[in-house]
């Protein structure tokens, strides 16, 4: 089942100081305002994530918050970097696989000696790969 074209699907990576490291609108989103709104929703779920992190051993936190008909799922790395995804369709397995694959990419970024921890990821290679993983794992 394909997600409707204008349903938002925002993926963000948030650093240790709640700073934005990376974001990508994974679905075909026409309105700029929709992205800003999605960012706001994702940001407001950070407190919930901070709580849940201490209650579980795994990095994948599943769905942490809801807003109208959108879900926010989270994945927190061992270094406390947060991956968050705002999505409407329930697809726990797809999202878990997506998070795991993006995590592998993130580890490679960390191994670049020129990348400073907690700073924005500007690599276009990373961006393309995230989008292609999204297409494969999330039916987008």
């Amino acid at each position: 089942v394909q997600m409707p074209v204008d349903s938002p699907c925002l993926f963000v990576i948030v650093g240790k100081n709640d700073n934005l490291i990376y974001q990508s609108q994974l679905s075909a989103q026409k309105k700029e305002s929709a992205t800003h709104f999605s960012q706001f929703i994702v940001h407001s779920s950070l407190d919930v994530v901070d709580d849940l992190v201490w209650k579980t051993n795994t990095m994948y936190l599943k769905a942490v918050d809801r807003f109208s008909n959108s879900n926010i799922s989270a994945f927190v790395t061992a270094g406390y970097i947060k991956f968050l995804i705002l999505h409407e369709k329930k697809d726990e397995d797809g999202i878990k696989n997506f998070f795991n694959e993006v995590y592998e990419l993130y580890l490679k970024i960390l191994q670049n000696p020129f990348y400073q921890l907690n700073s924005p990821i500007t690599s276009s290679v990373f961006d393309e790969k995230v989008k292609s993983i999204a297409k494969k794992k999330l039916d987008l």
């Binding site: 490679k108 191994q111 670049n112 000696p113 020129f114 990348y115 690599s123 290679v125």
Partner: protein, 201 residues
């Protein structure tokens, strides 16, 4: 001294038979102690990143990397000769084959190709197909003129200097910079002592 054609180029003529340099390289590599390659690449990357922060000028960092390499090369040659037991090179081009098939293999675990040999200028190129130093590295835009692996040029220069050959060694291409290959150009400038004939009959 005959000019070696490319098929024979990995063999060195000796009075008792020929030596296959690729095999020497592999055997030496097999017997030498190994270290985790991630530790190695992360350490080297950290050095380069720190040099960039300290000097801020890309040309100066290139220089520093070359100097570091030179320092290493002056001392590395002893270990190289002791472990590999390669016979003496008959001409300058052979130094390239030995560096590419034995030196690189021993210390980096990969071999290089010797190409673009110019007998008049006593020059050759070393093409490195897989450079272990650059795994995971992406050059930021501010470092476009950085030769990330410049330490290798210094090492080659230092090693050959201990063998009485003064060379100039520099990068011409690097895949990190978007080029299609990684290439080092080695040029003989001067023979420091008279005893070793290079490229003469």
């Amino acid at each position: 001294i005959e000019k070696l054609n490319s098929e024979q180029s990995t063999k060195v003529g000796m009075s008792r038979g020929s030596v296959n340099l690729s095999r020497v390289g592999e055997n030496t590599f097999r017997d030498i102690e190994k270290l985790n390659s991630e530790l190695f690449t992360l350490t080297y990357g950290a050095i380069v990143a720190q040099l960039m922060k300290d000097y801020e000028d890309v040309e100066e960092v290139n220089n520093q990397l070359e100097k570091m390499g030179h320092n290493i090369g002056l001392r590395l040659i002893e270990e190289f000769l002791a472990r590999s037991n390669v016979p003496r090179c008959q001409d300058f081009r052979e130094t390239g084959e030995v560096i590419a098939k034995v030196g690189f293999k021993m210390f980096l675990g990969v071999i290089a190709q010797v190409t673009s040999w110019d007998p008049k200028k006593n020059e050759y190129s070393l093409i490195i197909e897989e450079n272990p130093l650059v795994e995971f590295v992406e050059l930021p835009d501010s470092c476009n003129n950085l030769w990330f692996s410049n330490v290798l040029c210094g090492v080659i220069r230092g090693c050959l200097e201990m063998l009485q050959l003064r060379v100039e060694c520099k990068f011409i291409k690097d895949v990190l910079r978007g080029d299609d290959s990684t290439e080092i150009r080695v040029t003989l400038k001067e023979i420091i002592a008279e005893e070793i004939p290079v490229g003469e009959d």
